[in-house]
Structure formats: C-alpha cells, structure tokens
Amino acid sequence: MHSIAVLRFPGSNCDDDARHALEDVLGASVRFVWHTDALGAVDAVIVPGGFSYGDYLRSGALAAKSPVMRDVRAFAARGGPVLGICNGFQILTEAGLLPGALARNTGLDFVCDTVSVRVERTDTPFTGCYREGQVLRLPIAHHEGRYEADAATLERLEGEGRVVLRYVDVHGERTSNPNGSAHDVAGIVNERRNVLGMMPHPERAVETLLGSTDGIGVLASLLESAAVTA
C-alpha cells in the first residue's frame, strides 16, 4: 500500500478532491500533510489546487515559502515523484522546482471548462499509462494559467522533451489554447522528470458520472511508478 501525501495550505481547496480520486476511486492511501508539518515517509507528493493564502501577493508565492516545501524539495532531490496541479503547479514554479511562471490568462478572466490536452511524452512517472499523442479531455479552472518562460528555457524544455502535456483541439491539432500559454504548454517536468506541474485537473476526471475518466492515467501512472521507486 502506497502512501501519497496531499499537501494542505491555508486556502487549498482541491485537497479533498485529490484524496477522493486517489483513495475512493483508485484505492490508494492518502495522508494530508499540513503546511507546517514534516512530510514524513511517503511514496509520492501531490501539491493540490486551490487558492493557497488567497493567492495574495502572487499565486503560489507564499505557499512556496512554507516549511513543508523544504521537505518536498528534499524528497524531489532524492527522485521522489511530485505532482503539482493548478495552484500546485504555481507553487512548484514559485518554489523553483520547475522553471517559468504562470501568468494571468490572456482573456483576463477566470476560465472553467473542459479542454483537450495531448500527451507529448510517456516517459515520466505521471504519463506512463497513456499513449504518446493521446488526446485527453480534462477540466481546467484557473485565472493564472498562462505558462511563461524566457526563450532559452522554452527551447530547452522542448529540446529535452519536458513539455509533457499540451493544449490542442479535439483532433489533437495545436489550434486551441484556453489561456495563451507559451508553446501551448499545459504541463512540464523538471530535468530529472520526477516533478510534474500541470494546469488541468486530472483528479476531476476520474469518474464516468462526472463526464470524463481521462485523468485517471496521471494518477494511476503515479501510483505505479511510486510502487517501482518505493
């Protein structure tokens, strides 16, 4: 039985959704870790979505400085898988675990919708269950989801195959981008490929009743790879 840590910051609000998907749907064991507590022994870490610290200052900026993130940094440095979703992605970039930043959507408004996302790489602990080029239907819900990085960083990300998820249309073509992200980036990994940040919410797409099960692959891949690394 793996233990997956789901971090909780003041203002996190997708923490219980992640727990539900992992525990009630996929049968994993989840431990909530409060932002001031030690991470402890876990097989994987999820930094969930929400509005940590109300998104005050900048999305993710305050959470990135919280005590638990020191442990997360060490866990990632040992090769442990870390998945940041939405606000979690923002926190990981603010914490320096991923390059670049998430800026205000080009449309300026908050966007909640279900969009198409293409799996670019399957050689990560988060996407092993998918086929390369597979088009997923995943919910998004964010105000600051426009991925930005300098040209050199973007070139490096592309060159190293670290753009793992990309916004596309239903046919898998790059004609549809809900927030203006550079290179249609929906998710990237770090150099070592064990830290993924993604704006779409895989935990919202794990049950037929709610419309899509396309997000299961992210969580199932994570559980599988956690079993391997543990």
């Binding site: 003041p10 203002g11 609000n13 959704d17 409060w34 509005f51 908050f110 909640c112």
Partner: protein, 762 residues
Amino acid sequence: MSRVDAVHPAPTPADRLPRGAPVPSDDAATYGLSPAEFDQVVAHLGRAPVAVEAAMFGALWSEHCGYKNSRPLLRRLPTEGPQVLQGPGENAGVVDIGDGLGVAFKMESHNHPSAVEPFQGAATGVGGILRDIFAMGARPFAILDSIRFGDLADARTRYLLSGVVQGIAGYGNAIGVPTVGGEVAFHPCYGENPLVNVMALGSLRHEDLQSGTVGAPGNVLLYVGSKTGRDGLGGAVFASADLTETSAADRPAVQVGDPFMEKLLLEACLEVIERGLVIGVQDMGAAGLTSSVAEMAHRAGRGIDLDLDRVPRREAGMSALEVMLSESQERMMLAVAPGREAELLAVLERWELDAAPIGTVADHGRFRLFEGGELVGDMPVGPLNEAPTYTRVGVEAESVRRARERDLSGVAVPADPNAVLHRLLADPTIASKRAIFRQYDHQVMTNTVVLPGAGDAAVMRVKGTRRGVAATVDCNARYVYLEPRRGAALAVAEAARNLACVGARPLGVTDNLNFGNPTVAEVYHQMVEAVEGLREACLALDTPVTGGNVSLYNQYRSGDAYVAIHPTPTVGMVGVLDDVERHAGLALRRDGDTLYLLGAGRPSLGASTYLASWHGLEAGRPPELDLVVERSLIETLHTMIAAGLVDTAHDLSDGGLAVTLAEMAIAGGRGVEVVVPSGFARRPDVALFGEAASLVVIAVRAEHDVGVREFARAAGVPIVPLGEVAGERIHIRVGEEPLALDVSVAEAAASFEATIEAALRT
C-alpha cells in the same frame, strides 16, 4: 489570543442609566426609525435611548433584519412537512435527503450593495450566504445565483453585469465552492437597481445540525475571524431605503470580502462543530454584532453582557455605535460552554484565526453593553428582536390591469418564424450564459453531475451515498408583474418542473422576495398577491418554504419619479435523486430518439417573451396553471427518469416550444424533425413561441418507447409524439400550416451564443 474565562465586567445594577446623551425624538429618522417607532423604543426602555441604542433598534427594526412590512405576509407561507428538519428562523433551512443526511439551503439578496459596487456587492453576497450555511453545521457544496440587470445595450448594465459576475467568481472560486447554476435575466426595470440573489447549499449529518443560540447563562460569546472596521456601516438600513442619485455616496456601506479568511473560518467552524465544542454558531451578517448577538440571545431567551473593549478592531477611535453596527465581513459568533475553551482555541489557532471572548450569557434578558467598565447600552432582548409589523392596504395599479386585460387578437402572425427564433435565441434573458458560467469554477469538490447549461437544474452527487441533490432558482418576473398571484405560483411550478426534468423529487423552497417600496399601495398589492401565489403552489406541490429573504425598496428615485422593479419573488428549490446515476440532461443524445410533449399545459401569447421581444408588448395574462396537473407531471417525469426510461428532458419556458427544441438541439449538436399537432394552439406563432406551464419535451430511445407511453398513460399524463431527433436542422411544422420553421443547428447556436459573449467583451 486572550483567555476565555477572564471575560467579565462586574455586574451592574439594572437601574443605572447608560452613559451618553439621550437622543431627541426629532432625530429618529437618523437612526432609521419613524416617530411612532421611536416612541415605542422609549416605551420599551422607559426612557429615551442613547445613540447606540437608537441605532441598534433602528437596524434590527429595519426591513432587512426585522421584516416589519413582510412578516404578516410571510406567515401565510407553508413551512412544515415531514422532510423539513429545520424551518424558518435559523441561519438556514434544512431538508432531509435520507441516509441520515440533510441539506441546508438558503437564498439572500445583495441588491443595493451590488448597485453601487458590483464586484464587492456580489462577492460579499456569496460570502454571507455561505456563512449562513456553515453556521448550521453544513459543509457548503453548491452556489446558485439569480441575477437581473437592465437593458444590455446600456454601458452601465454591462459594467454591472461583468462586475457582479466577477465578484461571484472571485469569491466562490477562491473559497472552493462550485457555482453550479442560476439564472440571468434582463429588463429595463432593473437598470439602476440590479438584483443579486445568491443561494447556497450545504450538507450535514442530522446530528450535526446547529442552532444559532447562546445556550445557558455563564456561556461565553467568542468572536472569531476578521477584525471590526468601519466598513459596511449601516448596511441594513441602507438596504432598506430607496436607491437615489446620491446612493453612490453610500459606498462605505458596502463591505469588502476576503474569501481566504472565510475559507479558514469555514474549516474551523465545521471542525469545532464536528467535535462538539460549541453550543451555537451565528454569522455576523447584516447589522453585524447587533443582530448576531441579539438573535442568538433571543433564541435562547437569555440576556447578554457584552464588553466592547474586547471586540477586535482594525481602526482606532471607533464609537460604540460603529462597533455594534459595523458589517465587516468574515466574522462569526460562537457560543461556548465553560470547560472546552482550551480545545476550541487550539482548533482556531491551527486555522490561524484570531478569537476573542467578548461577552457572557446572563439570565437578565437584557442586551447590555459595557465600555471602559461603564454601562453604555441596556435594552430588553425581546423587543429588540420583535420589530413592529405593518399591514397595509394594497391596490392594483391601473396600468397593470389594463396591460393584463389588453386584447391581443390583433397581434399579427409573423411571416418568417426563422427570424423570430433567431431573435428569441439572441434575447439576453434566453441566450446562452456560457460566457458567464465559464468564469465560475463549477467543478471544484468533484460532485457536479449536471453542469451549468446542461440541464434544467444543477445536479450534485453526494459522496459516500448513491444519492444526488438537485437545485434551481427561478422566476419569470414579467408573469409576476402582469398577474402577481399566478406569476408567483408559476415560479414555484417552474422550479419544481426543472427539478423533475433532471430526475429529482422536489423537497423544499427558499424564497427571495424582491419588491419595490412597500409603502406604495401598488407595490404592497404585488407583495400580498405574490405571497398568496407562492402559498398555493408550495402547498399543492408539497414544497414547504424553509427560509429566505425579503428585499424591499428596490426602486430608484430620481427627483419625484420612481422606477420600481418588476415584482420578483425568486424561488430557490432543492430536490433529491435516490440514484444519481439516473438523471437527465437537456441535450439531445441520439439520432432516432422519439420526441414527445409530456403534460397538459396550453401555450399562451400573453406575457410571453415572444410578445415582448418581437411585438414589443408586455401584456396579456401569463400561462394558465393547474397545480394538480403540474404535480402529476412532475411526479411522473422524475419517476420515469429514476426508472431509467428517460434521460433527456427540457421544459417549455421562455420562448416556448421552438426555443425548447432549439436549446436541446444546440446542446446536443443534433437536429429535430417535428410536426406540432394542429390544435396545440389557435395560432401557429403561439404554437411555436407561446409559453406554457406543465409541459416538458422528452427524447426517448426506441427500446423505451412503449414503456414511456404506457407509464404516462397509466399516470394520466397526456403524451403527444412530436417527431424525432434527426439531421442537422431544427425543422418544425405546425399541423398542416404552410408556415414552417427551418434553421440549421449551427446557425441557431451562433445566435444563442453571441449575445452575452459580446456584451462581456465591450
């Protein structure tokens, strides 16, 4: 953080007078009191009030808090039923959904604040109603909004619309409660006075149901959350007066929201409730400390000694009056029994919340205020909470009677029904609200089964059970304007029908009664009649009213001229699905499905959107409503959906049958081939665009065709075949009439989607 046990000011003899100068009776109006009300205050006190006392009576006796013009009417509403766990009188009503679970729900208005500051007005409306829900011990799981604005061609309307939408989004998204549905309507009468009614739902276990009470003498009042400032000063009084050209100067009466603070409060309150650490919980909403403490004391039949020096403040030099009347947001009042304080404070500290003991419960039945150890206010709790009530004489406006009785036989039948359909689909009240609900996180909490725009009501599953909860908010204000009693009954009927269309059994109602100035006889007439209509329909459909809100003075005064809103008794309704897998949406799902018209309503030209939008006439009688017929349709429909026979249903409402079919076609990306039986209406345009109660279009797959028809016949509900799902066009003929409607689904979708999208971009 202070210690809880060290609260208390020394007992003061009751015959001592509070510090401060008595308020002269000439100043009554300053405190929102009429001369007669001022005299009553003097009689209750046995002396003239000091300023803080006059202000507290003024706030609690305002319409917003005291319901002085509406209470006698509200007593007419049915409030009881076996499904009701909590009726009116608490922070929210609660209905039983089975499995030991209840749903707390309530709707409240934030109309006047949204008129002067749309973003914060709407945001704090969301914050306030959520606090009412978690004060009941329920975890909020859904928000719906009923919002109304003026003419979309006006820049001010677009400013208000986009501000209100962003305010709702800003608060709901951040706190992580999904905004799952609602209605957005437009009419020039709301131009200066928009309506922002917010409904929230929460789930609780029966044993966690809370009461907003102070409990027994010796208990401590613990103030939790944001500090008190001068914001929102006098909000309850502001909400109980006409809007005028100078209302913008009342902007300080609008509060500023902090959803982050509220998220912490929400989690902390639910935790202390679950652990049994509190006696009572109450939101500090309108009239802030004054109303929360007075109401809690009144429910327990107790008195309170409150130490103003202990109230956490963010501004220096606030007077007793300012502290008591501030409407700073994100504040809760907890009543705590001695003994568990340490445990309670530890929970609050973990959630990084400030808390301060500010008062103790006493058996003297008075609300006493102390400052610097001195008595500064001393009022009997009972009279504070019992605003005088007024019953007036209403008179129907002659202009309304004439409009209703207008002869419509001369209205021409349009030559081109396609153009009418496009006009109606583009009418802002009918048009797609996608550009609005895209800004709301409608999926957080991963419970939303029927998303906004996908069904006649929102459906949320209840984790850990097979059940679902459905919710809707409805009111066709044009109906209520033209015939208040029937119009209000139609609002209840439509809400119940909408729930049935997704497969839910209706359980209960929360209402938000938005009207103009009650001292105007024509407005009072609307109130009396509308409440009677609500009563009749709620009784007939077995949907008791468990709570709600009254918002009066929704009129704009410019010089001597008044612009009152259409009477708008918004109906929020909650229902249950025993098996949430068995639900229905409005999108056509399969080619080849048979389309049926289920029910026994008759389309009407009167009061229709078609008549208003195409012919420019707001006239005639709203559709006929037979509540026995309506109830049998509702029961039959939700039973068929629960039996798995039907998964596609949409009721006839604004725009009539043609718009209903078009909406189903657009949502499903499929066409319809329909022949409306001749005899459905006397005129082909009324058959297509006339509005009716008690009618629903269902799409039935071949394998269930016989089953559905037999089920309807056995239930005595008329079922008439209309045609089938086929092709890519909306093709509707009316009997043998040469007039045919024929529009491609893509063109219809373009008309439907453009209006709101464009308005939000300019």
